[in-house]
């Protein structure tokens, strides 16, 4: 597709990129004396428009949710190709589907857990799922819901709702990206899938689950083949890292395994994989044409929201600044 159609969107985003919260400001927030002080620093940023709504720092989630909604509606306004943003917002659709299916099975309303930034508005989604009418859905999404329901009704295992829908979600995202035919975005998804699979594998190992289980939770469509994971479930963490030394992930694997052996926790890997994706996304900083900067801005913004959440949770609970900094994700600017 013609890369030039994104020109206007990109120069607009370049201005918006200057308004992202840079690392130094985040550091100031971390070093603030209280959560309220940290909130005040947000006042100097794009978030200030939402701050009037809340009275206490504890309500920071409201601000983050509003900002997420604002960003997605902005991106839909800016982008010349709707499908591009759809790939990212699909994740919220599937989240909403999970919530609604669980609400249905539990027979309790869970509307407060819906996030209204998906490709299908939550109100519509609610009506569709209530009537089990999936005619307006994408075939993959439709198949996902139907298969999930069959699976759930079979063994009444709520975990299957999540696992099944996660698998269909990535399938859906990958198929959208393939339709779009943008290598950068396809690779972005592939890397994400690989990193999720690696993390899943660590977690499955820790939970002492069997191979059959691993097979159901490993996502398809990454660079690394499913067999790589299936064959190394019984390997030690060290061996696994060695086995994958030919991949780009070796570095982060090595560092996380080192940390894992020390603390028994996987959170280093989580942070490093987020950083890995950020490094990949940062390549688009130097691209003036094509869809890359759009994806980059969206990811940058989502990471920023995540970082603010980490800081606010830390500040409200008086977590030590080093502990917060340890978990803070790499920022785009």
């Amino acid at each position: 597709m013609d890369k030039l159609i994104y020109t206007q969107a990109i120069s607009r985003l370049k201005v918006l990129e200057t308004r992202l919260i840079e690392r130094t400001k985040m550091d100031r927030m971390i070093d603030a004396s209280s959560a309220e002080e940290a909130m005040k620093i947000l006042q100097e940023s794009e978030y200030s428009i939402h701050l009037g709504k809340i009275k206490r720092a504890e309500e920071y989630e409201v601000v983050l949710k509003d900002e997420l909604k604002r960003i997605y509606s902005l991106m839909y306004e800016v982008t010349p190709v709707k499908q591009l943003i759809d790939i990212m917002s699909l994740r919220y659709d599937y989240h909403n589907i999970k919530v609604l299916l669980k609400a249905k099975e539990l027979k309790t309303p869970l509307d407060h857990l819906l996030i209204d930034v998906g490709t299908i508005p939550t109100e519509k989604m609610k009506v569709y799922l209530e009537n089990e009418d999936y005619t307006d859905f994408n075939p993959i999404m439709r198949e996902g819901i139907e298969k999930t329901l069959i699976r759930y009704r079979n063994d009444l295992d709520p975990q299957m709702i999540d696992i099944n829908l996660d698998a269909y979600m990535y399938k859906h995202m990958v198929s959208q990206a393939d339709e779009l035919g943008e290598g950068f975005i396809s690779k972005f998804l592939k890397i994400s899938i690989d990193l999720i699979n690696l993390k899943t594998m660590f977690r499955v190992k820790k939970q002492n689950k069997e191979k059959d289980f691993l097979e159901t939770v490993i996502l398809q469509g990454g660079i690394l083949d499913k067999d790589v994971f299936m064959n190394s479930l019984n390997d030690s963490m060290d061996n696994l890292a060695q086995k994958l030394s030919y991949t780009d992930y070796y570095n982060i694997l090595r560092l996380s395994v080192e940390d894992y052996l020390k603390t028994g926790k996987i959170n280093t890997f989580e942070k490093l994989s987020d950083d890995f994706i950020m490094e990949y996304i940062k390549k688009s900083k130097f691209m003036s044409f094509g869809p890359e900067p759009l994806l980059a801005y969206l990811t940058a913004k989502e990471t920023e929201i995540k970082n603010i959440r980490i800081i606010m949770v830390g500040k409200l609970n008086k977590v030590a600044p080093e502990s917060i900094r340890e978990r803070l994700r790499e920022t785009y600017v």
Binding site: E61, K98, L165, K199, K209, V217, N267, K306, R309, N317
Partner: protein
């Protein structure tokens, strides 16, 4: 000390004396019970303290993990993940008798015994590994938490029982027994006085009778 409002008769004195000896025996028994209860109670309090410390420490750690999980996941994602539990745990409550106090004994059973992963009811793609850690900790603290509930409730019940026993002991010691003693003393005095009055009267009658005889 007030005395009981009774007629100073010999029959009353016998019943009171009987009551007095029962009260004394009861007092001794209750006192023994109180001592034993105290001993057990102190043991239990010690155990309770230790458990509480351990549980609080572990819960604190689990809470901290949870906090970090909530930091890296949005509330909606976090809640969605754990709102539909996979595992059911049933709790069985029986009672045990310690020194006539019915204390609870709790026992819980996992429905999916042996499946270590069953405490995680969510998928892997959108959840953080920190959540796994928090849930694992939380799950591991559960047996201790139940034990703590058990011990704490027992302590409460025993404290109530001790209080009750002490009140009874005190009532016996400071009310019933002195009252009975007083009343017995009073009746005895009254009876003695009656006796003395009788003797004086008899002596008087005798002297009057002698006087009459002399006068005739």
């Amino acid at each position: 000390m007030a005395k009981l409002n009774v007629n100073p008769t010999r029959m009353e004195l016998t019943t009171l004396k009987k009551r007095f000896s029962t009260a004394k025996r009861g007092h001794k028994l209750l006192k023994d019970k109180q001592d034993e209860l105290m001993r057990r109670f102190i043991d239990m309090i010690k155990e309770n303290n230790e458990l509480r410390k351990a549980v609080e420490e572990e819960l604190g750690a689990s809470f901290k993990d949870f906090l970090m999980a909530s930091a890296v996941m949005s509330t909606e994602y976090l809640e969605e993940s754990i709102i539909f539990p996979k595992e059911r745990i049933s709790l069985d409550v029986k009672t045990k008798n310690i020194m006539s106090v019915n204390v609870p004994v709790m026992e819980f059973k996992r429905e999916m015994e042996g499946d270590e992963g069953s405490i995680y009811p969510y998928g892997f793609a959108n959840t953080s590994a920190e959540l796994d850690g928090a849930l694992e900790r939380l799950y591991n603290v559960l047996p201790k938490l139940l034990m703590l509930a058990e011990v704490e409730k027992s302590c409460q019940l025993m404290a109530d029982e001790i209080e009750k026993t002490r009140r009874r002991v005190n009532a016996l010691e400071y009310m019933t027994i002195p009252q009975l003693q007083e009343t017995i003393k009073y009746i005895k005095m009254k009876l003695d006085e009656n006796e003395r009055g009788n003797i004086t009267r008899l002596m008087k009658i005798k002297s009057m009778m002698q006087e009459q005889e002399q006068n005739q």
